[in-house]
């Protein structure tokens, strides 16, 4: 009897001991580092393809044409239909009348786009078919409907965070590059590579978005709903601390 127990214990040591533990440990380590983080996010596309390249390189616009500070110091962020309509000069009333005359339901976007309504088509500024389709989509789904484009904000912050672009306007990338190491967990180090770019927007926003033709998908956390790029509180606090700025609650939570 006693001998049998001893044999089992030996067998146990032979068959595993630490080995199954190590296998389990390594397996979840690999999963946890390489596989699972990706599963927390789903990719959501922007409402339509907006090409910064066409607007910046093609039309000679600069960042401030759409993303500007208002007189009261608040930041305009995404452009509104009012701003877009300065160039995309489709008269909503005229377009809706033409749609009604063509007997198309104003909410049937596909039918409107296929119908190639003159009041819309004659005012398209794009040249290639792909870009024309993107522009058409904007005009039909948003501009003439009087709806603002529900852009997905890669750096979305909740309502309880007060972020002032004006207060961060003077951040100097060259100066911050000296803290590159300390900031490595907060800011993508690529921002500091090469000659310090003039635009400090890259510190938080998609790098060189002004040269982007097709906006990348918005990566949305399936649990929290936040963007993968949303800056967490500890990152804000880290940078504030490094720059000698206050970290009191009311600094950001008004």
């Amino acid at each position: 009897m006693g001998q049998k127990v001893m044999e089992e214990r030996k067998a146990s040591k032979r068959c595993g001991g630490v080995l199954p533990f190590i296998i389990g440990f390594l397996a979840t380590c690999v999963l946890g580092w390489a596989v699972l983080p990706g599963l927390f996010y789903v990719e959501v596309e922007q409402p339509f393809k907006f090409s910064h390249t066409i607007h910046v390189e093609g039309q000679g616009m600069d960042c401030e044409s759409c993303h500007f500070f208002r007189d009261d110091g608040s930041y305009a962020g995404f452009p509104t239909n009012e701003g877009c309509a300065e160039c995309h000069a489709v008269d909503p009333e005229e377009a809706m009348e033409a749609i009604a005359e063509a007997g198309i339901d104003a909410n049937d976007y596909d039918a409107i786009m296929k119908a190639e309504i003159g009041a819309i088509e004659d005012n398209l500024a794009s040249e290639s078919d792909e870009n024309k389709q993107a522009e058409r989509e904007y005009i039909v789904k948003y501009l003439i409907q009087g709806k603002e484009v529900p852009w997905l904000n890669y750096q979305y912050q909740p309502d309880n965070v007060y972020f002032s672009h004006k207060a961060h306007e003077g951040l100097d990338i060259a100066e911050l590059a000296e803290m590159k190491k300390e900031l490595s967990s907060v800011v993508d180090s690529a921002v500091f590579e090469g000659e310090a770019p003039e635009q400090n927007c890259n510190l938080c926003h998609l790098k060189d978005i002004d040269k982007n033709d097709t906006p990348p998908a918005f990566q949305q956390n399936i649990l929290s709903g936040y963007s993968k790029m949303t800056m967490k509180m500890w990152k804000c606090e880290r940078c504030h601390a490094l720059k000698g700025q206050p970290n009191a609650c009311y600094t950001c939570h008004k």
């Binding site: 595993g16 001991g17 296998i23 440990f25 380590c29 946890g32 580092w33 929290s224 936040y226």
Partner: protein, 649 residues
């Protein structure tokens, strides 16, 4: 235990430990913690450009020049308009809640005929038929004192052959009846309180509800060296900040003013009025300080002291409130003093066939209104004057539900002030003729129509819509449309002609005699804008500013001096019934020595039976216990001199 099972457990333990060495668990915990911030039912803020859009608000009687705060085009609040002299950055408690009222669940959502929704076309057809059948038996009651919409209604009446245009009782009406009616003047009386060195507020609680309250407060604040004196039956909030409060019963205000005039005449002051000698004789014989003291209880010395200050001043002004006689007496005194009373010209009309403002103020609503078709525009006579108003077919134009819309046969929803174009011409009391324009700030979300547009669809007045009327008005005024749209006021520094004005000696001599009711105590009704007015109930954020001296729980509070309370056998917190006029009110008693003995002070504007949760069922309606008495000599009616019986319950 089998080997496989043991290995499995060991591997699971390893896996569990292993996962803790990855960010997965920790980031998942973090994600879960902030997941709670984005539950779908949590309201989220709207972001966009924050603007202040200038417009006008008509919720208070004189109207406010405001800026509506919007974010991404959506209105969320109201503030004063620095660029407009009516506001100077200030705002009244009613208009401050304009956006909340615009979003109120009591907004009228569509045209309603006896509780059933109908189309605007059917409403037009129905009212057209009723008007055709009624002929000249058509009347209009307007709650708007300053808008050109009144010209449109007046034009409709003219096309029907009627002159039955009524305004709700107001200080502006009493002043007009005295100035243009009794004294033969023209234009509108104004008071330059900012530049006056002595201001006698003879019954005008100018810093809380009388006249253009906001402009008055600005004038008071800017007038650093001026001396303000308040006379009235109660130490109002106005009295609490003036240099002196002189207790004067409301019905004795005209006599009190003539008592002061006695000293001014004795000092040798005169005016080139045709009846000056008659006026002087009337005052010197009938209103000696001793007689006035006997009739009103105001000490002769007090009147002498005020007269002395007025005579010594370079630019004095007497600002009246109350009866036609009290207004007439004050105007006569101002003419003698030659100070800061102004006579403002009326702006030109847009609608040719419309009455002038003075003509619109002639009809006496307190004498009763009866018509086959009664149109009520943003007024609430069925709350404030239920005994006086009768219409065989009543059409109520309003944006929110009121006692009047509940009683009307046809209810036609108007856009809220922030959803429509409107204007505001010279509210009563301002020192100069001013004209302000209101532009729509928000798009209407309900099935509403501007009342003027509806009326223009009934009668051919030469305009397609109200925008055209306003354009014509701006042209008649001589103002610049663009500047007005940006929120600036057009100010005309001209005076109307005062030659030919008399002192109404024969009328004032009789009309100034105090007439009091037969009740046990005199009633001093008072208005606080945060409590509400005859037309506008309190607004959503205002109730928290109503003090325990007006409302405790759902009970109205009346104030009286301790001597009065002792005489009536009541004390602080006693529940009493006040009976007077044709009704009674319930209230709790508060003892306040700032009320003249023998007087009970009660707040107007409560006790609504229709409305939102902030006004319905709160307090009681003091309008029920007011007594309408005839100012026989002045040919007018007044609530001054109302008395009540008080019973403990």
């Amino acid at each position: 235990m089998s080997v496989a099972r043991r290995a499995f457990i060991q591997m699971s333990v390893g896996a569990t430990v292993g996962i803790l060495f990855t960010p997965t668990v920790w980031t998942a915990l973090d994600d879960v913690s902030i997941w709670t911030q984005n539950w779908p039912w949590i309201p989220s803020l709207k972001y966009g450009e924050v603007k202040g859009v200038p417009t006008v608000s008509k919720m208070c009687e004189s109207g406010c020049a405001v800026k509506v705060r919007t974010v991404a085009g959506e209105a969320f609040g109201t503030e004063g308009n620095m660029d407009n002299p009516l506001s100077g950055g200030g705002i009244c408690p009613l208009c401050a809640n304009g956006v909340q009222v615009m979003n109120s669940p009591t907004r009228i959502k569509a045209p309603m005929l006896n509780g059933k929704e109908i189309s605007w076309d059917d409403a037009n057809k129905l009212v057209s038929e009723k008007l055709a059948a009624a002929g000249s038996k058509v009347a209009v009651i307007s709650g708007d004192q300053t808008g050109t919409v009144n010209e449109v209604f007046s034009g409709l009446l003219a096309s029907q052959g009627s002159d039955a245009f009524y305004s709700m009782p107001s200080d502006m009406q009493a002043a007009d009846k005295a100035w243009t009616g009794l004294m033969g003047g023209s234009g509108q009386i104004g008071y330059d309180m900012e530049n006056a060195d002595v201001v006698l507020l003879a019954g005008a609680d100018a810093l809380e509800s009388w006249g253009p309250t906001v402009a008055n407060m600005k004038a008071f604040a800017n007038n650093e060296n001026g001396k303000f004196i308040f006379a009235g039956p109660m130490q109002t909030r106005t009295a609490s900040v003036t240099s002196k409060w002189v207790p004067v019963p409301a019905e004795g205000m005209a006599a009190f003013t003539l008592g002061i005039t006695y000293y001014v005449l004795q000092a040798g002051k005169s005016v080139p009025a045709a009846d000056f000698d008659q006026f002087k004789a009337m005052v010197i014989s009938g209103y000696t300080p001793a007689k006035v003291e006997a009739a009103t209880g105001v000490k002769a010395d007090a009147m002498a002291e005020i007269a002395k200050q007025l005579l010594a001043a370079d630019n004095p002004v007497v600002v009246p409130g109350g009866s036609v006689a009290a207004n007439g007496a004050a105007f006569a005194l101002n003419l003698l003093l030659g100070g800061a009373m102004k006579v403002l010209p009326e702006f030109g009309k847009a609608v040719e066939t419309a009455m002038t403002r003075s003509e619109m103020l002639k009809q006496d609503i307190l004498k009763g209104v009866s018509a086959d078709v009664l149109m009520v525009y943003e007024a609430n006579p069925f709350y404030a004057l239920p005994e006086q108003v009768k219409g065989a077919f009543t059409v109520a134009f309003d944006s929110v539900e009121t006692e009047t819309t509940a009683a009307a046969d046809l209810v036609l929803p108007t856009p809220h002030a922030y959803e429509r174009a409107d204007d505001l011409a010279t509210p009563y009391g301002v020192a100069s003729a001013t004209y302000s324009l209101g532009v729509p700030v928000s798009k209407p979300t309900l099935n509403v129509m501007n009342a003027a547009d509806f009326v223009l669809g009934l009668a051919d007045l030469g305009f397609e819509n109200f925008d055209e009327v306003l354009e014509a008005k701006v042209t008649a005024v001589g103002a610049d449309m663009d500047e007005l749209a940006e929120g600036a006021a057009y100010v005309l520094e001209e005076s109307a002609d005062v030659s030919g004005v008399t002192l109404a000696a024969s009328v004032l001599g009789k009309a100034a005699v105090p007439v009091k009711g037969t009740g046990a105590v005199a009633l001093a009704p008072y208005t606080l804008l945060n409590v509400g007015t005859a037309n506008q109930a309190t607004t959503p954020n205002a109730p928290c500013t109503i003090s325990n001296n007006q409302l405790i729980g759902d009970n109205m509070v009346v104030m009286m001096a301790s001597a009065t309370a002792k005489k009536l056998g009541v004390g602080v917190g006693s529940k009493v019934k006040l009976s007077g006029g044709n009704g009674d009110c319930e209230a709790l008693v508060q003892v306040f020595e700032g009320v003249l003995p023998g007087v009970v002070a009660a707040p107007l504007g409560m006790g609504h039976t229709v409305g939102d949760e902030f006004s319905k069922g709160k307090g009681d309606n003091v309008y029920k216990i007011l007594t309408v008495s005839s100012e026989a000599a002045a040919g007018a009616s007044t609530w001054a001199g109302s008395t009540v019986n008080v019973a403990k319950i």
